[in-house]
Symmetry: C2
């Protein structure tokens, strides 16, 4: 059965969840699965989620086999993609390829909100190894910019 | 390789395409595939497309087995979902289930723009049969509202 999930000020009538139920390395971030987890939506092979990062907050620094399709719909920020960090703003799209180490930061005065579509069946995120952290610290661009 | 596809006034640096290369029953609509058709994006099992319908325009009245996940990011309009028609506005999400007959209409003064995510591998859309058109005409809510 088709349905409309109505928006109201960047919130939708679906559960507002903690970003992760375990782990560390993130701050001030919420998640709503807009489509894919509701009743009758089992045919969808992918989930459309909305993440919102409060000013100064950030997502986990992580990588995984499954790619991400991200569209910014609120605010601005920066994204770490392996060895670089890039500014991101309204309606920019970010394709995150397999095992790219990534992290979103909300750098503006309003929250950074983005849609992130993933395969329903996917692998679990992996945190960077000590060796990967050493590589980040050896990178002048990223040193002091990432959060773990 | 991860990448950022930058937005500029509801346009992105990817090809702007005709909505369909064949068929009829649509008006004033463009399509951009934001993620999934670019080089290196083959691992994505789904495509993220942006459709824009100019004021007074509409998409094809059609159905198909594959579901749609839609998020409105510009303007307002109406959507036909089988036997009903509903208003839609900024950030509303529309889950279109298998074989639901659907059509988007831009009813405001600015274009109606929406993201629509679909499986990379999917069936072709089907137009309504004469019998389905008769059913629409028998529905007081939809008579005169749909376009073919």
């Amino acid at each position: 059965m088709s349905k409309i999930i109505r928006a109201d000020k960047y919130r939708w009538d679906v559960p507002l969840r903690e970003y992760k139920t375990e782990g560390t390395g993130f701050r001030d971030i919420t998640r709503q699965t807009l489509m894919g987890e509701g009743a009758g939506e089992e045919r969808l092979n992918f989930l459309t989620r909305y993440f919102e990062v409060q000013p100064g907050g950030y997502s986990s620094l992580e990588h995984h086999e499954h790619p991400h399709s991200v569209v910014i719909i609120r605010g601005e920020g920066e994204v770490i993609l392996d060895d670089r960090i890039e500014p991101i703003g309204l309606h920019d799209c970010i394709y995150i390829s397999s095992h790219c180490l990534h992290q979103f930061h909300a750098t503006g005065n309003e929250p950074l909100g983005f849609l992130c579509v993933v395969d329903r069946q996917r692998d679990r995120p992996q945190l960077p190894t000590e060796e990967e952290i050493r590589q980040l610290d050896a990178n002048e661009v990223l040193r002091g910019r990432y959060r773990v």
